[in-house]
Amino acid sequence: MKKLINSAESAVDDALAGMAAAHPSLRIRDRVVYRASGPRAGKVGLVSGGGSGHEPLHAGFVGYGMLDAACPGEVFTSPVPDQIVEATTAVDGGAGVLHIVKNYTGDVLNFEMAAELCEDVQVAGVLVDDDVAVQDSLYTAGRRGTGATLFVEKIAGALAEEGAPLAEVASVAGEVNARSRSFGIALTSCTTPAAGKPTFDLPDTQVELGIGIHGEPGRIRAPMASARELTEIAMDAIDRDLPLEGDLLVLLNGMGGTPLMELYVAFAEVAAFIRGKGARMARSLVGNYVTSLDMQGFSVTICRLDDTLTRLWDAPVETPGLRWGR
């Protein structure tokens, strides 16, 4: 398997150097990606982070209307507390900082440790756990955080930009998460630079259902099927957990290696499914947003909107990965 890198060891830092060169709106230092404009006094700061390999998540969502800083770890490995402490301290504009944490043991532990160390900053946290493929029971680490992270970052970011206090920003973040569900399907494995070979072998006749975003195998294997059948599996799983009603925000997310053309094919099926349920696709995004390196496949994330969330979703955003209204 070929990778467009200089070495597995330097890949994350090299990519960050590229990001810095590509986006003058970002400032990157010690593995933390900041807005070049710096913290704004009185605005709640938003910090997220996680393993690398999910680009544009999270660093690509740093900018006006979304994050103030992102902490990229090694590929698929949570960042370390130092990065998070550094980011949190730097972006605090006096109104406190919200940590947006995807529910993975590693992310949770490292953000928790960091939060404890940020003694001079008021820190609140929101845990994103939207993946219905994982049973939320005493017998798991709980549901994973996947596509809803983008929704949380966008909507909480918009509210923070309006000047809302930390408690409110944290509360809307939690609400977005509570109203969001995801399900992912892999057609191929991904290959991490360090491992250099696919994480799992998947024959041409099979797919993995219920995957996360770290190249983990899914809950079960199933026969390869049409876009219609595959999206139906995803949509049914979501609908069983959170009935599709009212105005929906829909993310049809590519895992990194699936052509946009195919994502649109799947999206047409998602739209038809939603119409069939009598719900309304009020807002949508199609593309590679929360990825797993070169994995082929997709995930669907759906959030049940209300007027406030719709307004905040529509608010201007200016980041490398998501931009409108400015």
Partner: protein, 225 residues
């Protein structure tokens, strides 16, 4: 606490039957060496039920541990362990970084020179408790705890039974190894592997495997003197 210097004068691993600073440094060197040797295996285990980075994580971490120890040479066993734990927390990330980091820090904070066999066993237990507490994990969850807890018990029993250091480490290593192997039929309840549900059954937990490796290094180092 780990800060006060130990009794030792030379570079030996044992001094009047107690474990020296040099012993702990050698332990970490051996761990770094073994993690590198077994890097692919650990990553392969993690590929099966996780995200294929455990080998890389630990390799990166223990390489940094050795660098930090070289940069500011510790003068007491506790310092060695606390430094190692801090480095792991600062450099590894993922689940294993905070977990192993906290374990080594807890051990380091618990050892009191002179580090007798009983002192070591107690410190080791403190490390295990730190993992269990942070990870909210218990034996049977298919995590590193499944290797660490039996090793800790073996060390404690060896003290009770008056078994010598070398033999105690061997018992602990065997217990850890068996504990790691016992994770194979388990269904994971913690960490990434728990997402797989029943599909996690049939694979050895990568963290349990690395824990067994870490305990085994006690034997190697103690056999050297």
């Amino acid at each position: 606490m780990g800060g006060s210097p130990d009794h030792e004068t030379g570079g030996g691993f044992m001094d009047l039957g107690t474990l020296t600073t040099a012993f702990f440094v050698a332990w970490l060197e051996e761990i770094a060496e073994q993690v590198r040797v077994h890097r692919e295996r650990l990553t392969a285990l993690d590929a099966a039920i996780g995200d294929a980075d455990h080998g890389a994580n630990l390799d990166r971490g223990f390489t940094e541990v050795l660098k930090a120890l070289a940069d500011s040479p510790p003068t007491a066993p506790g310092q060695v362990l606390v430094s190692a734990g801090t480095t792991l927390i600062r450099r590894v990330g993922g689940a294993s970084g905070p977990l192993y980091g906290s374990a080594f820090r807890a051990m380091g904070n618990a050892v009191e020179p002179p580090v007798t066999q009983a002192g070591f066993a107690a410190a080791f237990e403190a490390g295990v408790v730190a993992v269990e507490r942070l990870g909210k994990a218990a034996p049977g969850d298919k995590t590193m705890v499944d290797a660490l807890a039996p090793a800790s018990l073996a060390l404690a029993l060896a003290v009770r039974d008056g078994v010598g250091v070398r033999e105690a480490f061997e018992l602990a290593a065997r217990a850890a190894e068996e504990g790691a192997r016992a994770t194979i039929p388990m269904q994971a309840r913690k960490g990434r592997a728990s997402y797989l549900g029943e599909r996690s059954i049939g694979h050895e937990d990568p963290g349990a495997a690395s824990s067994a490796l870490i305990v085994a290094c006690l034997v190697t180092v103690s056999s050297r003197r």
